[in-house]
Assembly symmetry: C2
Homo-oligomer: 330 residues x 2
């Protein structure tokens, strides 16, 4: 049905070997035959079959990307970076939406293996303990982005969450806040949940502020949960002048909850986000936030997947916009 290397060989009167050489621009043919073959290729509209190539050559130039939620701004940025790097190296990426709990991860892993991808980028939030084994059972290179495995065995590209959370919280403290609420992603999440909470706690301690457990709440990084939990905090009459949110979406949720109750941001409540996605820019007022360089992390992750190399710690930063203000006195 499709037209093959044989067709162009026949049409030009050379052997398929020669055509192959020309297509892969190796050496071993005269300029004359080259011209001829190139012409025929254009004429016929010949397009090399990547499956056949992969079958013999062992190189599919394809990698798989596992994400928990493709539609988020967070995933989007990551994907954008990964895709950019892949494109520049001539790779394609197949994206796999694993579901918020990673429920489709196993299925995808076997599919990716069957398709003989050259590697896997794992960007699903959590990294279940048993996944490590499954993954090296695959015999494929893997690197995690914005997350990490329990063991040191799999390279990661991520920010130092604990330090980032420490810095974010410290920023709040330095502006005079002493009652700081915390909106997290769940302590059972050992990568984005626990470390950020620990960083928050560290900052409190470093500045001699006693922790108040009544000020900490957990959600799932999504907008709704941020809105809900902040709403509860507010409704309970908890006293706090600042809020550390573990994602921009949650922070925006907090903005909503505050507004619904008539508390003004940043005048009465300072809010700090996390990620620096477009959500932070678009928020009203624009969110001060802890940045993760998602695009760059995606690129880096792809590169270390293909070229090999160890874990990388991307550097975070505090992006100051309008939701955090200096407090006068205490």
């Amino acid at each position: 049905m499709s037209i093959t290397i044989k067709d162009v060989a026949r049409k030009t009167g050379v052997s398929i070997a020669t055509v192959s050489r020309i297509v892969n621009n190796q050496s071993g043919y005269s300029e004359q035959t080259r011209k001829k073959v190139i012409m025929a290729i254009e004429d016929l509209g010949y397009s090399p079959n990547a499956l056949a190539r992969g079958l013999v050559g062992q190189a599919t130039r394809t990698v798989g990307v596992l994400l928990p939620n493709v539609s988020s701004l967070f995933a989007g940025k990551l994907l954008e970076g990964i895709e950019a790097a892949a494109q520049s190296e001539g790779y394609s990426i197949v994206v796999c939406n694993t579901g918020s709990e990673g429920e489709r991860t196993d299925d995808y892993l076997t599919i990716l293996k069957q398709k003989r991808v050259e590697g896997i980028l794992y960007a699903s939030g959590d990294f279940p303990k048993d996944l490590g084994e499954k993954i090296d059972g695959l015999g494929l290179p893997v690197v995690t982005v914005a997350t990490r495995s329990h063991e040191e065995t799999i390279p990661y590209v991520k920010v130092d969450d604990q330090t980032a959370a420490f810095d974010g919280t410290s920023c709040l403290i330095e502006k005079g806040h002493r009652s700081i609420a915390f909106l997290g992603g769940g302590l059972s999440d050992p990568v984005a949940g626990k470390p950020r909470f620990d960083g928050y706690l560290d900052a409190l301690k470093a500045h001699g502020i006693p922790r108040q457990d009544s000020l900490v709440r957990f959600g799932d990084f999504r907008f709704e949960s941020g809105k809900r939990e902040t709403g509860r905090l507010l409704d309970e009459g908890a006293a706090f002048t600042a809020l550390f949110a573990s994602s921009d979406e949650m922070a925006v949720g907090a903005l909503h909850a505050a507004r619904e109750r008539g508390v003004r941001v940043p005048e009465e409540l300072s809010v700090l986000g996390y990620d620096n996605t477009l959500a932070a820019e678009m928020a009203l007022p624009p969110l001060t936030t802890v940045e993760q360089p998602l695009h760059a992390m995606g690129e880096q992750a792809f590169r270390t997947l293909i070229n090999g190399g160890g874990s990388l710690t991307a550097k975070h930063a505090i992006i100051e916009r309008q939701t955090v203000r200096q407090i006068e006195e205490e």
Copy 2:
């Protein structure tokens, strides 16, 4: 290197044909040999080579998706729908970020052809005239989502933009607004640009309101352009009580511009978005918007790509939230 069907055949003492039958659960073997083979497969960790399968069977179970900007909420929702449908049919998708102007489209098209994808979903905003030919040069089924080609030749899944814009604008008019600004995506864009503008104009005319060209501005659907253009409108002292934006992002940009200048939404200015992405929900105040059912459109598009079928018009809706208010008198 990898373990093949031969290995499991050898290990179980049957022929590769039998193994193949079992793997593809066809008929023609005893329950006993089945057990034996299955065991060996698990033991060895055999994983069928999809490339080889594709080479002989002509079915790669893969489709390509072309998008102009993966990191947007818009693309995310679409992708989510596409991915969901694909996953449920056992397909994988390779995503191609074509760039905002579609500059990498050609490269990707040839790659996708080489990889023998079974079809292509085109969701890049614009559909250049010459693309039609290139595409059927590929000999691959294509369907466009949220956009369409100039000719009727390629099936699309999209909303009726002109009618949707008409309805949105009418909604504004019915609330008493008569000076309505328009924020578009450029008249040169025949799919999301012109039709929406025409719908806006139609509504004006239908209600006997003269058009005011000083109230119409164009951007690129992104946040920044919405903010910029609205800012200009406001700075010029243009008189309008409502604004129709051609995307949620632009509408949010308008919110920012308004807020910076102290004009209150919706008290002094009503704003209507388009798309109903998460940006609309997260906006403060939440955006009243014209919904495109992006997720469902993605699913539909995938299905018509695989199963065949003609163009589909998805139905839009007005989602009322808080940025549009009734105007009392004139």
